[in-house]
């Protein structure tokens, strides 16, 4: 079997009393777009920094392309990082920023070669003609692209991206997400993206690792994580879900809001539902293509229902205070670990 490009072997990283990363066995496969998803402080940045070589693990080893790189300094590692705040060199032009990595090599590439590579890299991030600009003359999105070009020009084994889009506004972020995805496909370089934005992780990656307190709790394709979360934590973090008391003390039942059917009365609910619950509509939020209802049932308590616009023609809409009937198919109810 092919080596993972980057692999943690039982890596633990402690800062004094704080364990930032715990017995972690993260593995990145060649060519994939992997996201690490987790809340603030769960050790995402620390993981990336150990891969880049800015931090060394307290225990365990870091392998890159099957080679033990534990203790090897950052400048000798074949990975590159896109920093959250870009960290462009303010005293260098865009072109000198982008060619920085190539200029550290020996023998140094010729000027003509550098110029050609820079042009190519800038074209890749759609910044043709920006060679002589200074980094502070660029917008946030443009700086982001320069940072990308500066890293990609080195053809790293893995491109490490630490919340690269966090500083951009919503619309630009959406654009950059698509662009990053296309870029990854075009250049065929392995991307490892760190984010706490589940939508970003789900929409961009081939695979997502969910982290919690330094450990990886689940990894899989976005669809797997969404459809088959292993615990309440994952189900809650990846998408929205309703949680009801489970069959045992340590379990919960999770039902995704969009899998809950709602109708004016039991008679018009679809066939094949496991049970019917009459509810009272507490709140309604119009989301454009969907409508979200917050409803309450005497035994289940409050939960959410998400109905697509399309279904409204048959099921109608509900006003606050209406009574309605809800239910879901047996396979929609997942029994999960409560932790």
């Amino acid at each position: 079997m092919e080596h993972p490009v980057i692999e943690f072997r039982n890596v633990t990283k402690r800062f004094g009393e704080v364990a930032a990363v715990v017995e972690n066995n993260l593995a990145v496969k060649a060519g994939e777009f992997l996201s690490i998803l987790g809340p603030s402080g769960c050790g995402k940045t620390t993981s990336l920094r150990m891969m880049a070589g800015f931090e060394q693990p307290s225990e365990g080893e870091v392998f890159i392309r099957g080679e033990n790189m534990t203790g090897v300094p950052a400048y000798k590692r074949p990975v590159n990082m896109v920093f959250q705040h870009y960290a462009l060199f303010p005293h260098l032009s865009v072109s000198d920023n982008v060619s920085y990595g190539l200029r550290q090599r020996s023998p140094k590439p010729s000027l003509a070669e550098l110029a050609r590579e820079v042009t190519e890299a800038l074209a890749m991030v759609r910044l043709d003609g920006y060679e002589s600009r200074r980094s502070y003359e660029l917008s946030g999105g443009q700086q982001q692209r320069v940072a990308l070009a500066r890293a990609l020009i080195n053809r790293p084994a893995v491109l490490l991206l630490d919340e690269p889009l966090a500083a951009l506004d919503r619309k630009l972020r959406r654009e950059m997400q698509i662009e990053l995805q296309n870029l990854q496909r075009d250049v065929g370089i392995t991307f490892l993206l760190v984010t706490h934005d589940q939508e970003e992780a789900l929409s961009m990656s081939d695979r997502v690792c969910v982290m919690r307190e330094g450990r990886i709790v689940q990894s899989g394709s976005p669809r797997e994580l969404y459809d088959k979360p292993v615990s309440r934590y994952v189900a809650d973090f990846v998408g929205k879900s309703n949680f009801f008391a489970g069959p045992t003390k340590d379990t919960v039942i999770s039902v995704r809001p969009e899998l809950v059917e709602i109708a004016a009365n039991e008679a018009v609910l679809p066939e094949g539902l496991s049970a019917h619950y009459s509810v009272k509509v507490l709140n309604r939020i119009f989301l454009g293509e969907n409508t979200e209802y917050r409803v309450a049932n005497d035994t289940l308590g409050e939960f959410m229902v998400l109905t697509p616009r399309k279904s409204e023609r048959s099921s109608g809409t509900f006003e606050i205070g209406d009574t309605a009937s809800t239910g879901w198919r047996p396979e929609a109810a997942l029994v999960l670990a409560a932790t």
Binding site: F54, A74, K76, P90, H91, Y100, R105, R134, Y136
Partner: protein, 287 residues
Amino acid sequence: MTAAPARSRAVTALLVAPAAVFFVFLLIVPLMVVVVFSFGERAPAGGYSPAFTFDNYLNLAARGKAFVNTLTLAPLATLLTAIFAFPMAYFLAVKVDPKWRVMLLVLVMAPFWTSQLLRYYAWIMLLGGKGIPAWLAYIGIADVRIINTPWAVLIGAVYGFLPLMVPPIYVSLEKLDKRLLEASADLGATPIRTFFQVTLPLALPGVATGSMLVFILLMGDYILPQYLGGGKVFFIGNALVDLFLQSRNWPFGAAVSVALVAIMFVTIFFYMRFVLGKTGTRRAALV
């Protein structure tokens, strides 16, 4: 025009006034007096008598040695001071635990707490016949003369002006975004290359400020050359002391002064253009 801008302009004028008064009366006026004097003649009993002659300027070569000494030793001493100050500032800004920084910075300044003369006398002892040369003779390196040579002046300058050079460099290194150093390492630069490609260029504004300060003070200095140069290595400042206080040839002294100021202006102008030409706009963007 509305009242608001007029009032804000009045406030501005009020705020600028003290600086303007200071500037005009303590800088412009004395300078003009000096310029006027420089075209005059020495009164028979010494001092100034009105005239209009270029003789004083044509006579500048008579003090050529002072100009040559000043213009070689001042830049050289500035360079040496910068070279010694940089590692100190770097150590303070990057390596030292932040809680010790202030204390160590104060220690760098500590020599300023004692009188300048006292410190120069200490150096006279150290560099004089019974000091370092005696120790060198003891280990077999005989006949080294330091005191009253340009070397003594250089050593004294580096020692004396280090406390002025360290802080501006410290500030620019302190301000330096450490993530840039990581970015450089990430892109494959060894620590040494990172230093020359990132740290040093970004600390240049601090080096420029410190160098300017030290250079200007050295150009006008007369105490340092008098004590450590022992009258053998004299600066323009010493020539001025001599002309104004000993031979009382005020017009010639004034001409030497004007020449000194002119040289300073030109040097500073080109130096700033050279340094800021590369980094000025960037510095504006960083602040």
